[in-house]
């Protein structure tokens, strides 16, 4: 589904990703772990098409075509979803309206009819129940005045609603207490399916305990330095990142 | 002829005196040329009046009717100044008595290259330096913003010209590159006697690159008098230099006080000011800030007390012309009795000043009937990537809180006192100089009690 080859990316002249390669197939859940500053968020942002990142070389192929050619919203239309580390507040923009606009934009891009309000309300209630997001948050402005946990749940709700082909979760676990973490993980697990891939970017292993990824990568200094199965998570938990980085240097 | 017998005529008399005076036409001295320009400008400058936007809320006609003595003030004798420094700070000290400046310390104890001088001495001894800086901050003053520029009636710079036309004495401080003064510089402006005098000073403080100092300025008088003190203070802060500044105006309740405070800040410089506007029957503080380099910071906090028939006026003008500068301006006001607070805070951000951060707040407590508060917080913004806000509030004491204190056995009057003091004290708590913080808390309590006595003379007797 997604093939990244030797990707080099810089931000303001500084190279962050230094030749990253990654292969993600449908149905797989990949975890990308790594210390702070290793380039995890840069990778998420580049895949979603955020401005301010300069791709110097390498390629990203998604569903057989060049992802980097597409605008941010076109990538969204093609099924890429980024759950953000810091979901943005949109004062005055009603959450329900936002979700409907977004949902309909994707339907329209797929050549489907827009859904009407009553049908949408029914749908969004179901989804909100699914991720245990209090219905009252649907009536408020997008993320405005939401707690950290509520913001993240709102992201998971959007993911459940938009049913992406490739979901990227960027440090979705940061700032969550254990209950919120479980809700987020449950949401993610419910969405696992053979035709959907996920990339879970995180610094800590605790989210992965609930999600149980198929493949685990360690990202350090802009490159993937180790790939393994779930046991790698355990190893990292015990030993930290230091031994890997040292090993790499040696 | 003494002005005392001719009410309303001191300004005319002052101007006539200038015409006949001895400003040397050919002097190349920079102060003299500033002075020549001011003399000329003064002659045609209009008197401030209500239809001028910047004088909308500040009646000023009474000032020109004062029985002022405009003749040169007598320098007081040279002793007994030390008791003016009642805060007990370990400081470098200047006493400015009736407009005449004196440095009370030993110049030899200062770090090499630091100049502490009077303006009059500096005009002779440090002429080159002075001509480089004097008038610099003043000449660029004022955010003559588009709003004001478009007004039919322009502003009046009468008081600036009045000051400049006689090149008054004052203090001159020059801190060379890289020098950080450890002890604060304490300046007491003192008016002696009970004669109604016109007292003027011009003060210049220059910090070169990477220099740092603390300036503590206090304005007091000996006895009640209808004097008019008209001061100018210029501050020129170099690259990465840092100035901490305290200003306290606590002149007696029949005095008139105006201070122009003009500041230029270069790249990455820092200024922290705390202004206490507490005294005089009529006072006006006009500050202007100009950033000449980027990433400079200015943080001004203060209080405004108008407690018994006083008028307290603050005009703040902060002009962001350079990118990345940060200004904070936050004031609290307390008004009681037949008094008035005027607060005019203006932030201008020009098109090039992206990434500006500027916040202004002005919160006021109004305790009695007959008092008045007029506030004009203004933003004028021509750049988009900025964070700017202002907030103003006016209110009375929270009755819930009064009730709470009374339910704990405190008398209503005392409860109101405590809460009023608390409101202002939150601002006083921002003073870093411990001795000064305590001094301000005491002053606040004394002034508030005095005001209450005046309002309710029968209470407690």
């Amino acid at each position: 589904m997604l093939t990244i080859k030797d990707l080099k990316v810089s931000v303001e002249e500084k190279e962050i990703l230094k030749g990253l390669s990654l292969q993600v197939n449908a149905g797989e859940v990949h975890a990308i772990m790594g210390p702070h500053g290793s380039g995890k968020s840069t990778l998420s942002h580049v895949l979603a098409g955020k401005d301010g990142y300069q791709v110097n070389s390498g390629s990203v192929t998604y569903k057989g075509s060049d992802l980097l050619e597409l605008e941010t919203e076109e990538r969204a239309h093609q099924g890429i979803f980024l759950a953000m580390q810091y979901p943005v507040e949109l004062p005055g923009v009603n959450n329900m309206v936002f979700l409907r606009e977004s949902y309909n934009a994707l339907r329209k891009a797929r050549g489907e009819d827009e859904i009407d309000s009553p049908a949408f309300i029914k749908l969004i209630r179901e989804k909100a129940d699914q991720v245990k997001l209090p219905a009252k948050l649907l009536k408020r402005s997008v993320n405005s005045g939401f707690s950290g946990g509520e913001k993240k749940r709102n992201e998971i709700l959007q993911m459940a609603l938009l049913e992406p082909s490739l979901a990227i979760l960027d440090e979705t676990d940061s700032g969550l207490d254990i209950d919120a973490l479980r809700i987020v993980a449950d949401g993610v697990n419910q969405l696992r399916s053979p035709d959907r891939a996920m990339i879970v970017v995180t610094h800590y292993q605790r989210l992965l305990d609930y999600i149980k990824p198929d493949v685990v990568h360690v990202l350090a200094d802009g490159q993937i330095i180790k790939t393994g199965d779930f046991s790698l998570v355990k190893e990292l938990e015990d030993k930290g990142y230091g031994w890997l980085i040292d090993e790499e240097a040696a | 002829m003494s002005a005392g017998q001719n009410q309303g005529e001191w300004l005319e008399e002052f101007k006539q005196g200038l015409n006949q005076s001895e400003v040397e036409a050919n002097s190349s001295n920079s102060l003299d040329s500033l002075r020549r320009e001011a003399v000329e400008a003064l002659m045609s400058e209009p008197l401030p009046f209500r239809k001028m936007e910047r004088w909308r809320y500040t009646p000023v006609a009474g000032l020109f009717k004062l029985p002022l003595n405009i003749l040169k003030n007598q320098p007081a004798n040279d002793t007994g100044y030390e008791e003016l420094f009642s805060m007990g700070l370990d400081s470098h000290r200047f006493a400015v008595i009736n407009g005449h400046a004196h440095f009370l310390g030993d110049i030899n104890e200062l770090p090499a290259g630091v100049i502490f001088s009077t303006m009059h001495d500096a005009a002779v001894k440090h002429e080159a330096l002075l001509s480089q800086y004097a008038g610099k901050a003043m000449s660029q003053q004022g955010t003559q913003n588009r709003l004001q520029a478009s007004l039919v009636n322009k502003d009046s710079k009468l008081f600036q010209y009045l000051n400049q036309s006689i090149s008054p004495d004052g203090i001159f401080i020059h801190v060379p590159e890289g020098i950080k003064l450890e002890k604060p510089v304490e300046v007491v402006f003192f008016k002696s006697g009970n004669q109604a005098d016109l007292v003027q000073t011009h003060n210049v403080v220059v910090l070169e690159k990477d220099a740092a100092m603390t300036l503590h300025e206090k304005h007091v008088d000996e006895e009640a008098s209808q004097s008019f003190c008209n001061n100018q203070l210029e501050m020129i802060i170099g690259d990465n230099a840092s100035l901490q500044h305290y200003y306290l105006q606590q002149q007696g309740s029949s005095g008139w006080h105006r201070q122009g405070m003009h500041r230029i800040q270069a790249e990455a410089s820092r200024y922290r000011g705390w202004y206490g506007c507490c005294g005089s029957q009529w006072s006006r503080l006009e500050t202007t800030v100009i950033f000449s380099g980027d990433n400079a910071e200015s943080d001004v906090q203060g209080i405004q007390l108008a407690l018994n028939g006083q008028l307290s006026d603050i005009h703040l003008d902060t002009r962001h012309d350079q990118p990345g500068c940060h200004s904070e301006q936050h004031f609290r006001g307390l008004v009681t009795g037949k008094s008035k607070i005027v607060f005019d805070g203006n932030i201008t951000v020009s098109q090039d000043a992206q990434k500006t951060i500027a916040h202004l707040s002005d919160n006021n407590l109004m305790l009695t009937r007959n008092a008045e508060i007029d506030a004009k917080p203004q933003l004028e913004i021509y750049a988009d990537d900025v964070q700017c806000s202002h907030g103003t509030s006016i209110g009375e004491l929270d009755e819930q809180s009064v009730f709470y204190l009374r339910s704990r056995g405190i008398s209503e009057q005392q409860a109101r006192n405590l809460l009023s003091i608390g409101f202002v004290a939150e601002q006083i708590d921002k003073i870093e100089l411990e001795a000064f913080r305590q001094y301000m808390l005491d002053l606040l309590e004394i002034q508030l009690q005095a005001a209450q006595k005046q309002e309710n003379p029968d209470d407690g007797q």
């Binding site: 979603a48 | 709003l147 478009s150 305790l367 004009k376 913004i381 021509y382």
Partner: protein, 482 residues
Amino acid sequence: MQSGNSPIDELLDAGYEYGFVTDIASDTFPPGLDETTVRAISAKKNEPDWLLEWRLKAFRHWLTMEEPEWAHINKPKIDFQAISYYSAPNSMKDAPESLDDIDPEIRKTYDKLGIPIEEQMALAGIAVDAVFDSVSVATTFREKLAESGVIFSSISEAVQDHPELVKENLGSVVSYRDNFFACLNAAVFSDGTFVYIPKGVKCPMELSTYFRINERNTGQFERTLIVAEDESHVSYLEGCTAPMRDENQLHAAVVELVAKTDAKIKYSTVQNWYPGDDKGKGGIYNFVTKRGECRGDRSHISWTQVETGSAITWKYPSCILRGDDSVGEFYSVAVARGMQQADTGTKMIHMGKNTKSTIVSKGISAAQGQNAYRGLVRITQAAENARNHTQCDSLLIGDKCGAHTFPYIENRNPTAKLEHEATTSKIGEDQLFYCKQRGLSEEDAVSMIVNGFCKEVFNELPMEFAVEAQKLLSVTLEGAVG
């Protein structure tokens, strides 16, 4: 000739460019203003002596006044002698012949707003035989209004039919001496609307619906007077989301509202006059005096405005809160883009006890637009327990525009509580990215964020109009970002 370069001439030139052919019709006065003009206007309308006298007093006073220059706007001097002060209402002689004669930009806007062709033609002032079913609809409305005793007519008609009501109230809120433009209006007002709601009557419909389909060019010196007797309610809506054709550059309207005991008046405006082209050429000068007096206890006046048009907007819908417990509200969205300049805000004068005012102002500046909020909140000595809350927010789109806030806060009563807050923001890149990542186009994202910014104001508009206003805002700001 001195008047050769006057803005009016320039506008006439612009008019030709857009095909607004201006024939001087026989029932249009030649340009110029003196006492004879004022007398002639009054005579044309067959006005009673008291009204002529009032106009003349205003005119004589106007001669002593100077054009104000304090607002945050730049404009050339207006040549008041170059304006024609009377043209017969509903004159179709100078109208364009077909939609092809209309400024293509305006037509594009019509299309984007989804306005039907017939209505477009009506808006453009093209003579069409049947403007939908307006006659029958209007008749139904009129019957319904008459049943409840509501008077709703042109002010000229009201002068003839209800002289005592007009005489009692005209100029009672905005005196003829009030300001330069209001004074000029008093001298030469062309026509306008009169609304009278009798005691205890809740007006059975939004006066907008009727008004919108029947509106004719009432001229540049419009005068509106609304009187709400005790315990009556009325909601009035003026303007239209679609840009309307108008050959007059200067608009100096006056609106007076009188709310008596327990009465409530809600006055909504959508203003979308021609703003001029990208270089600032042409465009309407909109200098309006709007003021309501809460004369009775517990009366309530609410102003809501969406100002997207005009080259220059200069208006401060105000409330005089004279009655105890009276309430004044001002909700405003003002857009300045292109070369537009908006200087708008309100005055809340608290005189009665327990009076309350709310101000919510949302200014949007884009391209080289200059948007200023100017407001006064005055608490007089007698206004016990007055409350005011003011929120002024500015949104900047692009780095060539300006957003300014000039509040004046005057308090003379210790029991008053006033709060004023102002913020400035831009549309954040993070916000745009977030919306785009969820599949929205940049334009949809901008429009969503801007509408969110304005929500508190749109909430105050009558329902169907709020939807139109949102659409208008999106169309107005199209292409402003990026």
